[in-house]
């Protein structure tokens, strides 16, 4: 070792030490075992051989030295090996202690050779030489071993190699056969498993046409556009564009997505491949992937043969996604261009009288609050194990993603190999014009990567049909049956069924037909349609007879909702009011938007809250401060909307968004704080508390306003309650007719303009309250309508829309609306 040379230290250096120079002047000392292992091995082999020869030959028994000499005679190469190993170890030993020697070998001999080869030979040449040397080495090894086995010289053995190989062929073939046999078994199994689930339709196989799709004209136009480009790709390709390759139709169930796809199949001149939603549910790993590959092989073939192909994945959500992590922050988000499908439900204690957006918000709130309740604090953002999509999976989706826009590689054996043999380049892949159509009603279940442009270029919402679309659909289905409805009635029908889809309209028309047949008529009339609508929306009544005082209580409850809806909620109109008990409600007042409206306003949300709180306010008024638990659902809805107004939409006293405040932990106005948290301080709780206080203040104010409105409308509430008790169910028009004391289509409201009759009703109400207090029987019977109830099935004169709207809301004269900010708390 050189004098003064620092011994290099092995292993990790201590944390606070400078980086050290790891270049050693000498060789790193070998562990003892590495020094000895080969020597020991050779010695052991030697003695084993000696022992074997002694054991075998009786003349050598007890002749150890002689056996050693015989061994030496026979296998001198072992000794040579031993000598070489000792030489090598000596070389290492010297290298470990003499830096000059080490440098000479490392830098001069080996390093020099390395430098020389790098200087003289290109990488490619060196690789080839190394390859040749490796080949020669293994051939030499083979020759030596074969020579030893055949008792000839290695060179002769090499000459015999073909014969040896030929002799081994049967065994090789046997092995190959065994392997191929096993592989074929698996291959065949997977091949059979990967069949099915894919149907090909050729033009004219399908009879559905675009004209059979009603009420979705805007989407249809777009879809037609895609078909046009597929039929005539030159139109866009000659101008430097490309045929849009992917199309997603999403929307609520029954809105005609599949029908539209079917129409595409009927209209197009290209083959149409229908992929079954269950096709990718597979038993084994890899079958789904094989299926996708097989599907796209077929698609490419069809695309080449016919110049294009359409593939339709129905219920594309079955493809699944890759879990929440890929879906961006905050769990399943709605990918571009999408909003969730509205929550369709009905019921007084549900929220069917809320507008579409409010319904969704309540839904989402309900979902998230369930999660929040489960786990405390901020660690509840993700639900473990949720969102795996459940189906597809195991690489199926990834395979699909790759096939949709993966590497565009040359394909085919001849193209890739035979052409290369002749020195030709493989032809680039041709343009496969594949139009991918997908349909789903759960767009949030789709993987975001699937929806990116290039895979799915266009995303169309197939929403609830517009009113014009509904009219067209009603006309379409009614034209197939005999009916006595005129254009105005069909228009009104379309108005009062705002969320009707093709499927529900078809169903309703059929139900109406059943009603008319049951009544012994052969044409559908207006009352059949209304009956069918109520049956479809409310389900069959449970035929539960309330005791009188409870019936009255339910009627008053619903009448309060209806009256405030009539007075304040001008963006919606009452669709139905009923006190017939259904499966999950006692009674209900449902509202519908008369026209398609896409923005929501503070006044509308406040009206929603008035309607929700009307039940509590009304029960307190009409039952002298008493109230039932039936208002729980109403309060829930009211609180939710109020919370969003206050915390999210800037419709309260503050502007800042609660969701942002919560995410960024800055607290919120009136509670919590910015900056560093104090020990034990729960800013989120403080923010919530502050928010809750403001919400409570707002709700209290709105409740009081609702109470005032109801006090002003006592007569309306009681008369409507009477009408409900008499008729059980009122259509929106009839309810309004009662409130306005005029004739409705089915109920005559003029009777309620008689003061004497109203007094009877008031007396009946007082008796009901007394019975309620004493839990006793009612002393008075329900006042009978003086003029026998006019149930006029004759078509009532159609009323202009404006007539059965509520009057302009009476606002306080001071100009401050009900939504004025409360005093800061």
């Amino acid at each position: 070792m050189m004098p003064g040379a620092k011994t290099p230290v092995e292993g990790l250096r201590p944390p606070d030490e400078q980086p050290r120079d790891d270049s050693r002047p000498t060789r790193k000392p070998l562990p003892m075992w590495d020094r000895l292992k080969f020597i020991l091995g050779i010695v052991v082999v030697w003695f084993v051989l000696v022992w074997a020869s002694m054991a075998e030959n009786p003349l050598l028994q007890n002749q150890f030295a002689e056996a050693n000499r015989v061994q030496l005679q026979r296998r001198p190469w072992l000794l040579v090996l031993l000598g070489l190993e000792i030489l090598r170890q000596l070389h290492f030993l010297i290298s470990e202690h003499w830096s000059g020697y080490h440098r000479f070998w490392t830098n001069l001999i080996f390093g020099g050779f390395e430098r020389m080869t790098h200087r003289r030979l290109s990488d490619w040449t060196r690789f080839r030489i190394a390859r040749v040397i490796k080949w020669l080495f293994w051939i030499a090894m083979f020759a030596i071993i074969a020579g030893a086995l055949l008792h000839t010289s290695p060179l002769l053995a090499l000459a015999q190699a073909p014969a040896i190989i030929w002799r081994l062929m049967p065994m090789v073939f046997q092995l190959l056969f065994a392997i191929v046999f096993i592989v074929i078994q698996f291959g065949a199994l997977f091949w059979f498993l990967s069949r099915g689930g894919v149907d090909v339709y050729y033009p004219d196989d399908v009879k559905t046409r675009f004209k059979d799709v009603w009420g979705q004209d805007h989407v249809l136009e777009r879809v037609k556009e895609n078909i046009v480009f597929l039929e005539d790709p030159q139109a866009i390709e000659s101008k430097g564009g490309y045929v849009p390759g992917g199309l997603l139709l999403w929307g609520p169930p029954g809105t005609g997505k599949t029908l539209m796809a079917e129409a595409v199949a009927g209209e197009t001149g290209k083959p149409y491949v229908f992929v079954d939603p269950g096709a990718f549910i597979n038993m084994f790993f890899g079958v789904g992937v094989l299926k996708v590959k097989g599907l796209f092989r077929k698609l490419r073939r069809l695309a080449l043969r016919y110049g294009g192909v359409i593939v339709f994945f129905d219920e594309a959500d079955s493809l699944g996604n890759r879990g929440l992590v890929t879906q961006g922050p905050g769990g399943p988000a709605f990918p571009r261009g999408m909003r969730p499908a509205p929550f369709a439900d009905a019921g007084c204690h549900g929220f069917s009288y809320l507008s579409e957006d409010a319904q969704w918000l309540v839904t989402r709130h309900a979902l998230t609050s369930t999660v929040d309740n489960g786990t405390a604090g901020r660690r509840s953002k993700y639900v473990m194990g949720a969102g795996m999509g459940g189906s597809g999976g195991m690489g199926t989706l990834q395979a699909l993603l790759t096939e949709l826009s993966g590497l565009k590689k040359p394909r085919g054996f001849v193209n890739r190999y035979v052409r290369r043999v002749f020195g030709m380049r493989p032809k680039p892949p041709p343009k496969y014009r594949i139009l991918v159509m997908m349909a789903t009603n759960m767009p949030e279940a789709l993987d975001e990567a699937l929806l990116r442009p290039g895979r799915i270029d266009r995303i169309y919402k197939v929403g609830y049909p517009s009113k014009a679309g509904r009219i067209r659909t009603y006309e379409g289905y009614l034209d197939k049956v005999r009916h006595a409805l005129n254009a105005d009635e069909i228009d009104k029908l379309a108005t009062i069924t705002p969320y009707a889809t093709g499927a529900t309209i078809k169903d309703m028309v059929n139900e109406a037909l059943i009603n008319s047949i049951r009544d012994g008529r052969d044409a559908i009339e207006w009352r059949d349609v209304i009956k069918a609508k109520q049956f479809k929306e409310l389900g069959p009544p449970e035929d539960v007879e309330y005791i009188e005082r409870e019936r009255h209580a339910v009627a008053v409850h619903e009448a309060c909702h209806a009256v405030l809806a009539y007075r304040t909620r001008h963006h919606m109109e009452i669709d139905i009011a009923t006190i017939e008990k259904g499966s999950d409600y006692l009674g209900m007042v449902a509202s519908i938007p008369p026209e398609d409206q896409f923005t929501r306003w503070r006044s509308e949300y406040e009206a929603d809250i008035y309607v929700s709180l009307a039940s509590l306010a009304g029960e307190r008024i009409f039952y002298d401060g008493d109230s039932s638990s039936g208002v729980s659902g109403d309060l829930e809805s009211a609180t939710t909307v109020a919370t969003y107004m206050e915390g999210f939409w800037g419709m309260g006293s503050t502007v800042s968004s609660y969701s942002t405040a919560k995410r960024l932990e800055v607290g919120s106005p009136g509670g919590g704080q910015g900056g560093k948290r104090q020990k034990g301080q729960n800013t989120e709780l403080q923010a919530k508390t502050a928010l809750a206080d403001r919400i409570e203040v707002n709700l209290g104010r709105l409740l009081e306003e609702a109470r005032q409105l109801l006090l002003q409308n006592r007569r309306e509430v009681l008369t409507l309650a009477h009408a409900l008790e008499t008729h059980k169910t009122l259509t929106g028009e009839d309810a309004v007719a009662v409130l306005e004391r005029r004739r409705g289509p089915l109920v005559d409201g003029t009777v309620y303009s008689d003061p004497a009759f109203v007094r009877q009703i008031e007396a009946y109400h007082r008796a009901a309250v007394a019975a309620h207090r004493g839990h006793s029987k009612l002393t008075l019977a329900l006042p009978v309508t003086p003029d026998p109830i006019t149930v006029s099935w004759a078509p009532a004169p159609p009323l202009p829309d404006a007539v059965w709207r509520g009057p302009t809301p009476e606002r306080d004269g001071d100009g401050s609306g009900p939504g004025d900010p409360p005093p800061a708390s």
């Binding site: 020094r35 030959n57 003349l59 002749q63 002689e66 031993l82």
Partner: protein, 288 residues
């Protein structure tokens, strides 16, 4: 047959080291544990010491060089013997050529070839000048070993006497038959039925038989045999009296006969009896 045969009793073969001084060194190193305790205390020195030790061991073995004997074996037939290391292996000529010559092209010759499962020959004369080694003029020792497959008929006839006569006629009856055969050849020649060459080829030319020793062997495991030492002249090949030390063994199932012959000049045999006896007694057959 004489009963008193002066063949020394068999004794275990002990190889003599011809390079005793080196091997003594080697043994000393093998057994030498004097430095072991010290090496255990200083582990850093151990690899060097151990390497040295191993190197010394192997070099000692190597220094001894060639072994004393060449150990010949046929593992399939479980046959073993040894000859001095200096002797050279030669391509054997079947001894039938001398005893009962036949035309090499004849069917009989082919049958004999087929019957010989294995044979080997070693010649003490390294010059290789005397190919007809069994009756070599120089009288130097020559060893021939053979495994012969026996036919069903031969098996039935196998007796100790038949074993004695397997190679050269040794028993009285055997010698009588041979003499009669020779006489018939001579008669045929004199009658002119055989040419001189034919007569020479078929005449055995044996004469001057002397039995020196005979011992019936019983190595165990069902193997039996006999060792016979005798002298013969063969006028066809040599004028030197030759001694044949012949060991013939028969496998337990009588399917194989194992022949081992040392031939040399009678004077040489007397002089080098110890060495030749060692070779003869090394002939071992294990039961199959």
């Amino acid at each position: 047959m004489p009963t008193n045969i002066p063949i020394p009793p068999e004794r275990p073969v002990t190889s003599r080291n011809t390079c005793a001084p080196y091997c003594k060194n080697g043994r000393a190193l093998l057994a030498g544990g004097g430095g072991m305790a010290a090496t255990m205390i200083k582990p850093t020195r151990r690899p060097a010491r151990l390497t040295l030790l191993l190197a010394a061991l192997v070099s000692a073995v190597a220094a001894c060089g060639a072994p004393t004997y060449t150990y010949v074996k046929n593992s399939n037939e479980h046959l073993y013997f040894k000859v001095p290391h200096e002797w050279r292996k030669v391509d054997p000529i079947a001894p039938d050529v001398f005893t009962d010559p036949v035309d090499p092209a004849s069917f009989e010759s082919a049958k004999r070839d087929a019957a010989r499962a294995w044979q080997a020959a070693y010649d003490s004369d390294r010059s290789g000048e005397n190919p007809d080694v069994l009756f070599g003029n120089d009288g130097k020792p020559f060893v021939y070993a053979q495994v012969r497959k026996l036919t069903e008929d031969q098996r039935d006839e196998m007796s100790i006497n038949a074993l004695r006569d397997l190679f050269l006629p040794v028993t009285d009856s055997g010698r009588k038959v041979a003499a009669q055969h020779d006489q018939e050849i001579i008669d045929s020649f004199q009658k002119g039925e055989l040419s001189l060459n034919e007569a020479r080829l078929r005449w055995s030319g044996l004469s001057g038989f002397e039995l020196i020793g005979d011992r019936v062997l019983d190595p165990g495991n069902g193997i039996k045999g006999v060792r016979t030492v005798f002298n013969y002249y063969n006028a066809k090949y040599s004028d030197v009296l030759h001694t044949f030390d012949q060991t013939v063994l028969l496998s337990s199932d009588s399917s194989r006969a194992y022949l081992f012959v040392i031939s040399c000049a009678a004077a040489y045999y007397r002089e080098h009896f110890d060495q030749l006896n060692t070779i003869a007694t090394s002939f071992t057959v294990r039961s199959r």
